[in-house]
Symmetry: C2
Subunit: 245 residues, 2 copies
């Protein structure tokens, strides 16, 4: 909307965030600068609802700071959480299918900031820099791959297996997106038992039992509002030998 000049500090900040987003890394830098000029920074506070399930308007959102919960609430109040996004991650896949309602909503998990590129502007940009399409398709297809893996886990694994897989998955995403810790260092998530329960479709109490089991194997640690995966590699190995239901 605003005709920001490239040297506008606001635009410069947007650019930095967009550069860190894997979805956009197929675009040449000049295109990113254009995107940054039309992007809008949107600061948020913890627990603020960013998008509701069912909304039709579409934008490409890139997490600039903080973390965002992707979840949807059913009519009877139960909440189902899909994943947690950290800086560098993107969401708003409906930019690719204009007119489709969002299946899941987004809620601020901490204070932070989003950088948003309007849907039409993003699509126009892709059309003008078509060399970015293959990378874009690749990113989308990987996301589909992840979703399908989750479906597979739901069908094949018991509760400890599912919880372990999901934590492992989050840990890998954390590493990939931005949290470039040491190769296999410990990762901690600020997730309550209830958040985890909402990811797995189980109850707070059920999660408690599962976490205790995994803790007993030395695979995770947990405390008030926190879960830690000390050794991703060990967790991965454990889960490999345990596909049973």
């Amino acid at each position: 909307m605003s005709e920001d000049h490239p040297s506008d500090p606001r635009s410069a900040h947007n650019l930095e965030v967009l550069r860190g987003c894997s979805l956009l890394s197929g675009l040449p830098d000049e295109a990113l600068r254009e995107a940054a000029a039309v992007a809008r920074a949107r600061p948020f506070h913890a627990n603020e609802v960013l998008y509701a399930r069912g909304e039709v308007q579409s934008a490409l959102s890139v997490v600039g700071a903080g973390s965002v919960r992707i979840s949807s609430t059913s009519s009877d109040g139960r909440e189902i959480m899909l994943t947690l996004f950290e800086p560098g991650a993107w969401f708003g896949d409906t930019v690719f299918s204009p007119g489709m309602p969002r299946v899941f909503g987004a809620t601020a998990h901490s204070d932070g900031e989003l950088v948003e590129v309007p849907g039409q502007a993003y699509r126009d940009l892709l059309a003008r820099y078509p060399q970015a399409y293959p990378r874009t398709l690749d990113m989308l297809s990987r996301r589909l791959w992840s979703a399908i893996s989750i479906i597979e886990d739901n069908g094949l694994r018991d509760m400890p297996g599912r919880v372990g897989r999901r934590l492992l998955f989050l840990a890998q995403m954390h590493e990939h997106d931005g949290g470039a810790d040491e190769a296999n260092g410990p990762v901690t998530f600020k997730l309550t038992r209830e958040h985890i329960a909402n990811m797995m479709g189980m109850t707070r109490q059920g999660v408690h039992g599962v976490l205790k089991t995994l803790e007993g194997e030395g695979l995770i640690a947990f405390s008030y509002g926190r879960v830690t995966v000390p050794d991703r590699e060990a967790l991965r190995r454990y889960l490999e030998e345990r596909p049973q239901k």
Copy 2:
């Protein structure tokens, strides 16, 4: 591989199949003709394994005739089925992420035929006809949407709810892909209790109970190796009032 002439009858048949595929409908007809020339028809017999989970080689497969089960088998022999594809449907999403292993395999559900475009050829074609990209992204993003809906159902709904939703989903896909019956006519699937069990991560016996429940409500009918949804609209309404777990 073979330098088929456009008027080659084999190529003409391929073309007809490719024209019926929604993923490819963004490509101009001349591009489809090129694709048909390099495509390979691959007839199959019921229960033949078309692709195994984990394979890396990629091609875009379009179902020309018959139906194909998308599923994966775990190390301990349990099978999990994702969906059933009918003529007009496409799979092999790894064409968009060359080098990624297939998460799920494909098995012939009946006799039929696949038309396959080699991955590299398909990607080249897109690059030469970039106007097809938006449609391609749209199709991929809709598939992601479907996968996420399944995850949502797994978390929010009880067994009757999940089974109902999946059957409804299959029925809608059937209508969309090619089976252009009347607007809301009955749809029958050749699925055994065990197939359904494998889709939902439950047991043959468990499915039996659920189907009986749904039959009691007049929402489905079933017999040896078959399940029928007589009225999609009624099933949809029933499920809407029943999101509970």
